[in-house]
Symmetry: C2
Subunit: 462 residues, 2 copies
């Protein structure tokens, strides 16, 4: 019996239904990659766990057989997090999808890791509540916590970390731990909840989460405003952020990107750098802040400005934003969209946006710029022909140059996509003095280095 056959046999004994352990080619292929350009790799075996005890037993088997385990949710991560670099076990958590409890008067919920954000938001809506973090994809909440996801609404609500009050997680070897409580705040020892959030599946497998919910705002408006150049757009971003308005989303699209969405969706937008600014809150607050916003934007001489109060019109505009991925691919069919993700202080947005366009041109690449402007988070979506080695090399060089520019501005190599396997070098450039500490923390949780190896930090030479 081969080592893999022995592993599969042990895994089949570890779950209540052996058919949830599979070595079928199509299942393994489905667990080989995420949504990005990173090359996939098939796991040896896929296990669909249905409860925490099964996750525990799977991690115990992995420990005995000393094989790697890579947790898998919706597979929508953007830095290769779910690619099983050392093969082994892909541990699929999507069948752990129960909303265990929802406490409307506390505005909290306890969910299994495979519940998706839209599933939770639908359940919360019955109580006038919603789950605020929106990375675009309908990701699992376990995956969103593991990667400390954010997206369009982080400017108001923050990323995943402040939403997570408590976790249940399984350590390599199979021990189940519980961090945090249902109380809204705590000072009870080191913040292991916050440490597991954003650890990208390398410290423990998250199996349950207790999350904060938010009241659905009474009123929402969406202002689309364009400017003569990207630097003026950047200055407008700084003005709006520091004005303390009830901003719940603020997105930026550069001229190239606006042309792409016009071509793709017949959007008919003025082909200038554009901001989408959502205000939300009580009707009185939104009305008052909208007047302030208009006055403030006027000072930056916009080339166009429309405010939508009708929900349908707002949804239409947000769909354009959410379809950017497809709009961009349509610019050059056959090329892949390779998205960068840096974050800079908001006051650096004007300079960083201008530098991004200059660097794109210097590298002779086709790319649009889009960003969560209120956070200073910039994505350059580079169109790449993965068979063109020279173009791929220039795309990598551009990515490095964008990271260096962000670091020089006091920013970070990743605002939200995480390190995964694509930013390990960038993390070392940003926090070289911390890598040894991070490796030592990893050893505390995962002494045999079996959880999602090859992600976040390199394994030190023993």
């Amino acid at each position: 019996m081969s080592a893999t056959e022995a592993l599969v046999e042990a895994l089949r004994a570890a779950v209540s239904d052996p058919s949830r352990v599979t070595t079928g080619d199509s299942e393994r292929r489905l667990h080989s990659e995420d949504l990005t350009y990173h090359a996939g790799r098939d796991p040896d075996v896929v296990v669909y766990a249905v409860d925490t005890q099964e996750v525990s037993r799977v991690l115990s088997v992995a420990d005995e057989h000393e094989v790697a385990v890579t947790p898998f949710g919706a597979g929508t991560s953007l830095e290769g997090h779910v690619i099983p670099l050392q093969r082994g076990i892909s541990l699929d958590l999507t069948r752990m999808n129960d909303i265990i409890s929802l406490w409307p008067s506390d505005m909290t919920a306890r969910v299994q890791a495979g519940v998706t954000r839209l599933q939770l938001t639908r359940a919360a809506a019955e109580h006038g509540l919603f789950f605020p973090v929106d990375p675009g994809a309908d990701a699992t909440l376990g995956g969103m916590a593991a990667t400390n996801a954010s997206g369009t609404t982080a400017v108001r609500y923050g990323k995943m970390r402040p939403q997570v009050l408590a976790l249940e997680a399984v350590l390599p070897g199979g021990r189940v731990i519980r961090t945090g409580t249902r109380a809204l705040k705590s000072s009870a020892g080191y913040d292991l909840t916050g440490l597991l959030v954003g650890s990208e599946g390398t410290l423990a497998v998250i199996t349950e989460l207790t999350l904060r919910l938010q009241p659905i705002p009474e009123a929402t408006t969406l202002t689309r405003v364009s400017f003569a150049d990207i630097e003026t757009a950047g200055e407008a971003i700084s003005s709006v952020v520091s004005a303390g308005l009830a901003v719940s989303r603020m997105e930026v699209l550069d001229e190239w990107m606006v042309r792409a969405v016009n071509n793709f969706a017949d959007a008919g937008l003025p082909e200038d750098p554009t901001l989408l600014i959502e205000l939300s809150g009580s009707r009185a607050a939104v009305d008052a802040d909208l007047a302030d916003l208009s006055e403030l934007l006027a000072a930056h001489a916009p080339t166009g400005r429309v405010t939508e109060t009708d929900p349908t019109a707002q949804t239409r505009l947000w769909r354009i934003r959410h379809d950017i991925y497809f709009a961009e691919k349509a610019v050059s069919p056959g090329r892949e969209n390779r998205s960068t993700d840096v974050c800079v202080p908001v006051s650096e947005m004007a300079g960083a946006l201008r530098a991004s366009r200059e660097l794109i041109d210097q590298h002779g690449l086709q790319a649009g710029i889009v960003g969560h402007a209120g956070d200073g988070n910039i994505h350059v979506a580079i169109l790449t022909d993965t068979d063109d080695e020279d173009e791929m090399a220039r795309a990598r060089a551009l990515t490095d140059a964008l990271v260096d520019d962000a670091l020089a501005r006091g920013g970070t190599c990743t605002g939200e996509h995480g390190v995964g396997l694509g930013k390990i070098d960038a993390l070392e450039r940003e926090h070289g003095d911390l890598i040894g500490l991070m490796q030592a923390v990893k050893r505390v949780f995962d002494p045999k280095w079996l959880l999602d190896p090859g992600k976040v930090i390199a394994k030190p030479h023993d």
Copy 2:
């Protein structure tokens, strides 16, 4: 030469002015205790550091001499954090009090660890900004980060952790590390910033912080509302929290505590359980929310209700709240005020407030109840005669009973004061399964266990 003499000599060589290393009795006494009932202990030597390099050299000397180091800020902590249990060095950071940079358009500031919150708020006010975390005392920001402090405004702005974007800190042995960046968000590796925040000075000595600031709200109102009993007050708290109003503070005082402040400050408040509810934001938002708040409170049949819009009248009421410590001591002069600190889900406030009063009575003690109601954070301020062993035993028993009640309600043993030396047993009751992990994390940062030993977690038997 004794070991202490050798230590002092090495420390004097490590700082630029040897007079900042002192073994004088009065200096050592000033660094022997915090504001609480915990018994003090004099350090062997006090060092006043003026920059990061000196902190580094002091930690290097401590490492060579294998003596304990206890960081000291304003000395206003509430669980004995600054008491040097193993004597050694008390490292005073209050002279590191430069506001290094303040970026108004980013709403961020970089400060040395000894800057106090009011010092920063005064500097920020010139730009229409303020620092939102208010634990009452004018603590140092380094100490507030170390203990993850909160206070009256956490219901709106959160505790210290979400305010801290980046840290400079010195590890035991003297290595200087830098975590985080000036960007508002990051996913660059494990969250070591968040791990150091709340580590209570046991993992590293914080020397610099990059902090978020907030716009000063345009309008603020303060509503004082009283109810027939504490349970009704608790129900009103839940209603207000889940209504999503622009609440920036919500405090609760029980009947006993209201009587105490009436006697102390001639406050003339109705002697019923009372909430103080602050709304703040744009004038339009506050006006609209105040109407909603009034309607909502009316449903709980208040026994009295007044809304102050005049800033002077609001300040007068907040002074009453802030003087509670003295009001309570005046109830029984000579007795010490021993404050507990549990936090429960907001929906459990009604039950927890009633249980707190019942437990106080069962233990035959004099105590008032005050809390940061919007967070579910309850303090029982027990009046204790420290020379009366029976009373002290009953106070300890009451503290334990209140922790057990909070844990049974899904809450935590400490909402904001931290573990220090007073809650080590309580932390084990709450998170017994995590103590081993926390000890291992401690070893990563502090292999010789020299930083503030005896706090947060017990040292494992080697």
